[in-house]
Amino acid sequence: MLELSEISKNFGDVKAVDSVSLSIKEGEMLGLVGPNGSGKSTLLKIMLGITRPSSGKVLFSGKELAEKDWKEIRKKIGYMPERVNFYDNLTGKETIELFAKIKGGDLGNVPGLLKKVGLENAVDRRVGGYSKGMRQRLNLAQALSNDPDFLVLDEPTSGLDPVGTKEFYNILDDVRTRKKLTVILSSHILAEIEDKIDRVAVLKAGALRAVGSLEELYSGFNLPLKISIALKEKNGTLEEILKREGAKEIGYKDGHLTASIQREDKLRLLSAVMEKKESFVDLSIREPNLEEVFFGIH
């Protein structure tokens, strides 16, 4: 659907984006992750055609877009910028009607859209009285106001509390179940998006460091698993077994014996530990999360 080919963007001497090549498939949800200043927002703006790359190409359905083509493409794009306060003097309904008119959306869909994002009881209230969470919902509603096929979300849950964040993703899931949407989602809160995305692209200092599904990244980087054993009482036997079987970073925390183990050692180590099952009450093995993959890359 969308392809970036060797995209670079310089601001003076600063290289904000450095030779990024990336394909976004129709209907997928791609997470764009990286620390602040890694070039995520600049890359999103290049995808939207509101920042021109210094070099490289943006292709939609294999076609490089001329300036006039962008206007047509944008009819099917919804963009949710990171921070939008909107107009304090307009009501929620007036705000979405304004953007629907500008984007060529159907005004008849506005009440349903506001209901979809959970603002049905605040449609006639001025946005000046909205909370941060309500403004983010309104921001999502404006991004959806032209019934887009392609949704670009820049740090959509920035500033939301955990409840607000959960609600936001529930709304997004609901929208995606009703319509096939291609979504690009940027975030620096990695744990927040790892169970929602199909693929992830990791940016650091403007360069693309990794791209693929979580499974591909996990196996590609071969990160260690985390084992945690809840002990009946502290003893050295299990620690010795872990050392013998090649575990690393062995330590004790809150009555638990913890360590890192390689994936290929897992079954052998488990068999060895189970021989001493009388000395612990519980055991868990955790996969590395995206954050660990991400920092592993760093």
Binding site: K45, L48, G49, I50, T51, R52, K71, E72, R74, K75, I77, Y79, P81, E82, R83, V84, N85, F86, Y87, N89, L90, L98, F99, K101, I102, K103, G104, Q142, N146, V152
Partner: protein
Amino acid sequence: MVFTNAVRAIAHKELSDKLKSKWVLVIAAGFAALTIVISYFGGATAGVAGFRSIDATIASLTSLVTYFIPILALTLGGGIIADERDKGTLEIYLSSPISIGEFIMGKFFGLAIALAISTLVGLGISGAILLINLGFGAIGSYSIFMLNSVVLGLIFLSVSFLVSILFNERARVIAFTVFLWLFFAVLYDLGLVGLLIITKGTVGNEIFSTLLTLNPVDVYRILNFLSIGELKVFLGLASVELPSYMKTPVLWAVSLLWVVLPLIASYRLFKRRYLA
């Protein structure tokens, strides 16, 4: 492109903002009050109070308008970029299926209508009082004066768009707006007078008149002077003989250029700056 749905939506939003916030009402009332006071006390320095002839009144009001409307229009349009950027809505506009031209024209039409309404209502109220007291024979001159005043507002509104895009931070926009206002309303004419003094009047009429057209405030003054005829002295143009080509249509064409050229420059600069 001019009246697309997007242009109408943006213009409607800008106009309704100014109506809802009572901006139009306050400015119109202020205009009416000021013009009535100046019309009544315009001859106070000569020991006379009361409504004078319509020509003398227009001359007095011209001085008021040359200070009041430029600063009003400059501040009105100075925030079009900074405000949208601060609210975070600029990126939404840029990512929408509208052209930069539509964005600028929508903003311009909305604010221009708000400015025109407040100017026409404000000057219209005082005009009605004047005409009731002085007779309706001067309705033509006064109508042209009102129209010229609206055009002056449009010129500075257009210039304010350029300033807003040139200096996209609010503080810098305000600072430059005040400087521009001072330059066009006060300093430019002082400079011309200085030029006459330094060159001992050897600057030709043609050059001097051309220099006058480079300042929209002077174009406005001359347009009013041409409509009322014999009041050069009130307009500070007693020492200038205007060349024969400097007729009302030419000056209106110059005014139109003053509206259009800053908008074109705004469009080009906006495109270069925000789609860089």
